[in-house]
Amino acid sequence: MATTNEPGTQSAVVKDTGPEAGRPVVELRGAGKAYGNIRALHGVSLQVRPGEVTCVLGDNGAGKSTLIKIISGLHQHSEGEFLVDGEAVRFTTPRQALDRGIATVYQDLATVPLMPVWRNFFLGSEITRGPWPVRRLDIEAMKKTADEELRNMGIVLDDLEQPIGTLSGGQRQCVAIARAVHFGARVLILDEPTAALGVKQSGVVLKYIAAARDRGLGVIFITHNPHHAYMVGDHFSVLRLGTMELSAARSEVSLEELTNHMAGGAELAALKHELAQVSGVDVEELPEEEDLTAPVPATPEGKS
């Protein structure tokens, strides 16, 4: 794994930026998506501001993937509004989203495994030189730039010619993040970047999320891990069965509440009562339903 001598994950402890942090770059207003008669997403409102990390949490099937597919241009929303810089848009290809500065790092789709690191870094945005019939890749420039950008993010690789498939999962995510940052992304969508990673690897990825935020990018961090979300998030949205269950700034929600919402909140409380009737299950420590419902005033930060 790449080593770095940056301060480390302390930088993940964020200042509360609040709503005055600037105009949202990306905004959804009551957006939704139906596939035939299946309503995958409904009435979702979301704002992404520069220099903020917006976390979208949700269980499998909650509509997280649909949400990012709308924002990244793979699918189109079928209800509500999708605004970029305050202007209503409807992307038909990922290229259009990229051109507006919205870059997506997919969990599995970030890279082409058999291609060298530097080719992956510039894939789709290659640097060329020379007039048309002999227009060719500027390999030296691309290798140099890729190396510099990766080092800026604290990733040191010996050989940029090695197939990217030989890197670890965390390194691949980091290359993809560095790539998005280099290509002038203003909004970075990260699709469960820590899902398949170990503890240490996840830490590395979280650090790059913080690094990207500190460079002024708006980050949409999709995850189902509230602990990871709370490390770097400024705003939290919880999706459940295609609708928005919670939308709260960092100051309005604690890690415990976030975890409970993620785990199904009210459903869990109901489950507690059922479990209470089964002997041998200790339910005293489980939260009550009233603790779980509304966002409450700020609580001291969790020890996560």
């Binding site: 290659e126 060329t128 390999i139 498939g165």
Partner: protein, 359 residues
């Protein structure tokens, strides 16, 4: 390449203590041999040398220059088609209709110029349009339906096979087209597609030159241009490629059209060498092209390969094909020989790739 100089010290010095460049200290420099073997064309190069040496020893007539010219000619007719087929395979698809598409192209040119009594160049251009259209149809069907290219092109293969025979019989009342050798422009077209020239007293067919020119061009495009990058990307991981903005639809359709171009070129060569076309030919050739690409180190599942590899792959075919004749053996062994070569090459490629790209 600077890597060769670095290779030696990296083994002896402790990791991450390089004087100038900071490294992560985890990847020991792989030896030059291993890195060389990781190239897709190295396995087939060694195989081609082995087959060449084998026949040089086993069949003395092969040692003559005229035999060599003949072997190269045989290789070139396979090799010109193996190139676009290989590019398509690197792009993650394959084309079963390429063999009969060659004949379709030749039939189109021949019948249009003969039946309309026009300059053969009219037929040549019409054939080019038809060939590109067939490629475009294959690519467009693939993209629109999302079916595997195996099914789509199997359909095209059967359609073309039937159309070739039926239309030829309908128009000429024969299974072959009429001889066009006395028509306007035939000489010019023959000079371009099917002439030969003397090198040191040996007659070399012009297709050999075209083959090597196309191979050089394909290599340059594949390794040094945007388009080449896209070909590797759509074959390696189509969804990733699309997500980072690679025009997947354009790349795939254009690759099929490139196969169409190859089919046109070989079709024109056939037409202007023999002046007439047998409408039932071409069946089975598509597998030869695919085999040459696979022996040449292209991964059947896409995303990996080269344009030089299939050159050696086609050369192995030509060598075995002619070598058996020169050695005086029963030519029936040819296919058996090829099968063994194909399996051997595939196993070597598999082993090489596993060794060279191991974490």
């Amino acid at each position: 390449m600077g890597m060769t100089q670095q290779a030696a010290p990296a083994v002896t010095t402790p990791p991450a203590s390089g004087p100038s460049k900071q490294t992560d200290g985890r990847t020991a420099q792989r030896s030059l041999v291993v890195r060389l073997l990781a190239r897709p064309e190295v396995g087939v190069f060694l195989g081609a040398v082995a087959v060449f040496v084998f026949f040089l020893v086993a069949a003395p007539p092969v040692r003559e220059a005229s035999s060599m010219a003949n072997i190269l000619y045989q290789s070139s007719t396979i090799g010109i088609m193996a190139l676009p087929v290989a590019l398509l395979m690197i792009g993650g698809e394959f084309d079963l209709s390429s063999g009969v598409a060659v004949i379709t192209s030749a039939l189109t040119a021949s019948m249009i110029s003969y039946q309309l009594t026009m300059n053969v160049w009219v037929g040549v251009v019409a054939a080019l349009v038809a060939s590109l259209a067939i490629g475009m149809f294959n690519g467009w069907m693939l993209i629109r339906t999302g079916l595997p290219s195996f099914l789509v092109t199997l359909g095209t293969f059967l359609i073309l096979q039937g159309v070739n025979l039926a239309v030829t019989k309908l128009i000429t009342d024969n299974v072959a087209t009429d001889n066009i050798s006395d028509m306007d422009g035939f000489g010019q077209a023959k000079a371009l597609f099917a002439s030969s020239f003397a090198v040191g007293g040996v007659n070399v067919k012009v297709t050999v030159v075209w083959w090597l020119v196309f191979a050089a061009l394909a290599t340059w495009v594949l390794l040094r241009t945007k388009y080449g990058n896209w070909v590797f990307a759509v074959g390696g991981n189509q969804d990733s490629a699309r997500a980072v903005g690679v025009p997947v639809t354009f790349t795939k359709i254009s690759l099929f059209m490139l196969v169409g171009f190859g089919a046109w070129f070989v079709g024109m060569h056939n037409l202007f060498s023999f002046s007439t076309v047998q409408s039932g030919e071409g069946v089975g050739q598509e597998l030869i092209y695919i085999a040459a690409a696979v022996i040449g180190g292209c991964l059947l599942t896409g995303g990996y390969g080269s344009a030089i590899g299939p050159v050696f792959g086609a050369f192995m075919f030509g060598m075995v094909n002619q070598g058996i004749v020169y050695a005086g053996w029963n030519p029936d062994w040819f296919k058996a020989f090829l099968g063994v070569m194909l399996l051997g090459a595939t196993l070597i490629n598999l082993w090489v790739r596993r060794t060279a790209t191991r974490r």
